[in-house]
Subunit: 366 residues, 2 copies
């Protein structure tokens, strides 16, 4: 189908920039998402791009570029997905935007908020859509949980949030992964797993920025000074409080606990659900004690949210829908997603500053 | 049965000091525990003691004392259970010990470690058993979880612990309960619900004291300055870290999350299980990702531990067994329980000091 029909817009033609492991998952998502096509792959060598296309079942006509320049210059792309090391994000996200490509950018989106602002400015001035690639935001479970957290009768006022995201990296990762290299992903665990924790906290409070943060003392760093484990406490003006811990050094853990005046919510697989098509969480609301405090009444309720498309395909679909709206209907790019990205990055900056100043409290910029 | 037989020692004769709500639950536990009898109730008036005995189905022969003095002077008691306001603990626990009564003491055991030390010294010099009334310690689930947490193959080295205990107090509680009164329970939420959090953290690390603590900023206090909600971060010399949050102002929440190098443990009803006779928790161990990081492999395992006797009856039973051993076999009082109590109180002291000094880090005494 080569001409756009109003009721069924042309799929968005994606170029994938780089062949990172995570790109395999997102390539599959592009094959699954009805509004997306993989049109090109760009890598530092054409061989790598070809191997990636073959390994991931990309369509026969996919264009292979032996350089990132080649990819961003490809005139038949609507959008690029950028899973490059974070230190390369400013250059390539801005280059893509300058050539009119919409930008789906892996997290952490930048090494600092100033860098992100350069990316967002490039997207804005070129009227292209920006979205970060935080997949769990797009799972229908997330929407369902958001609805319950926002319901004052169910959870009431959120007062406390705890979140943990860790996985135990193997020796190879700890020596060779880009996420432990100061010249590639200088934020280490904070940028990688910590990104999700900070996002989860902001999500739980409907993106109200905290007033200040204080890093946990004694963060773990590798010999190059890259963070392998760290955490922080976040404070809001109204007394809300959140903690997070992120680490490459402990077992896979993906917790969000939200405690409100009237209820609480627990989810223990928030980043990647245990199963691809169904995702659990539990809610306690207006819990009191059974007679003589010998039990709870009522018990918390368990919820399971199912999805046909995996969360990363829903992310690609949502991004593509926004791109179609800009491309085909002349809409302005949607501004909520980049605003959420920026808040996440701003909090991350403050945490990093606190880590670098021996856990002194740091005010969050606005 | 009036004479002791080695294989079936005489039940321990308890006196209950005061008619607090919690005493109803413990009185029931004494009726359920084979090694315990309720022999007497002491209150500020004999009428109250009589009503308590009637309301709680105590045996017809139970002696009623119209004063605490009368109770501690009762020559036919082996032990007293003391659920008085914390400010009265030193006086009455020491008085009971001085009269040779073994002491089962409600938490928080004292307003500060110095006061607790006076109680423990009285128990030691009078060779009576001391135990604090922290019921969940005695649930078989706790032993099962301890076994798994101690198993290096399952959890590995514990690195992070988060715990929350809160309940939403009603207006009557917030105005009238002894736990919000500066002259009765000056530690407020820290002493009441925070006690369990601190104990849970120490339990998770096999009672290794942290090196320092730093309170969360902006604790909530009532007009009299009593804590209604607070929390802290605890730091160990080897980099372990724990956080807790305790509150009278949010929905019932009873979480322990333990994250180790090889696994994690989640329990969400640790203080009082949802149901009296069965208690759940879950463990993830050596978790990795399914292909393309589209799920977990393996999934966490769910466990349920059943018990015929409720945890408070098991507590009374364990205390009674120790008392019998001192009373009938001339054993020295067991020293592990008071040692655990003291560690809990020492950490609580440090948290309180940090709260009182605007969240400055405070070293934990030893």
């Amino acid at each position: 189908m080569s001409s756009a029909m109003p009721e069924e817009p042309r799929p968005v033609r994606f170029g994938i920039m780089g062949c990172a492991t995570i790109a395999r998952k997102v390539a599959r998502a592009m094959l699954l998402a009805p509004a997306a096509n993989v049109a090109a792959v760009g890598s530092r060598s054409e061989e790598k791009a070809r191997a990636f296309a073959a390994d991931n079942g990309l369509p026969a006509g996919v264009r292979l570029h032996g350089s990132y320049e080649g990819l961003v210059d490809d005139p038949d792309l609507d959008a690029v997905y950028i899973p490059l090391p974070t230190s390369l994000h400013v250059k390539w996200a801005a280059a893509a935007a300058a050539r009119g490509k919409h930008v789906l950018l892996e997290k952490p989106t930048a090494l600092c908020a100033a860098d992100l602002d350069a990316i967002l400015a490039a997207c804005e001035s070129n009227r292209v859509q920006f979205m970060d690639s935080t997949m769990w935001m797009h799972h229908p479970r997330t929407a369902k949980m958001r609805e319950l957290v926002a319901n004052k009768g169910t959870i009431g006022d959120v007062r406390v949030i705890n979140t943990v995201f860790s996985f135990q990296a193997d020796e190879d990762f700890l020596h060779n992964d880009i996420r432990v290299k100061p010249d590639l992903d200088a934020l280490g665990a904070l940028g990688d797993v910590g990104w999700y924790c900070i996002r989860a906290i902001l999500w739980a409070v409907d993106y109200e920025l905290p007033k200040s943060v204080a890093a946990f003392r004694n963060p773990v760093k590798n010999q190059a000074g890259v963070l392998l484990a760290c955490g922080a406490t976040l404070y809001w003006a109204d007394g809300k409080i959140a903690t997070f811990h992120c680490s490459f050094l402990t077992n896979l853990t993906m917790d969000i606990t939200v405690v409100g005046t009237n209820g609480n919510l627990h989810v223990t697989d928030f980043v990647i659900p245990y199963e691809e098509k169904s995702a659990p969480f539990s809610v306690a609301s207006k819990s009191s004690f059974a007679e003589l405090h010998t039990g709870w009444d009522p018990h918390p309720s368990k919820h399971v949210v199912t999805t046909d498309l995996p969360q990363e395909a829903l992310m690609v679909q949502e991004f593509s829908r926004l791109v179609q709206s800009v491309r085909d209907a002349g809409s302005k790019p949607e501004r909520n997603w980049p605003a959420i990205t920026r808040k996440t990055q701003i909090v991350m900056d403050a945490v990093k500053t606190s880590i670098d100043s021996e856990s002194e409290p740091v005010n969050v910029a606005s």
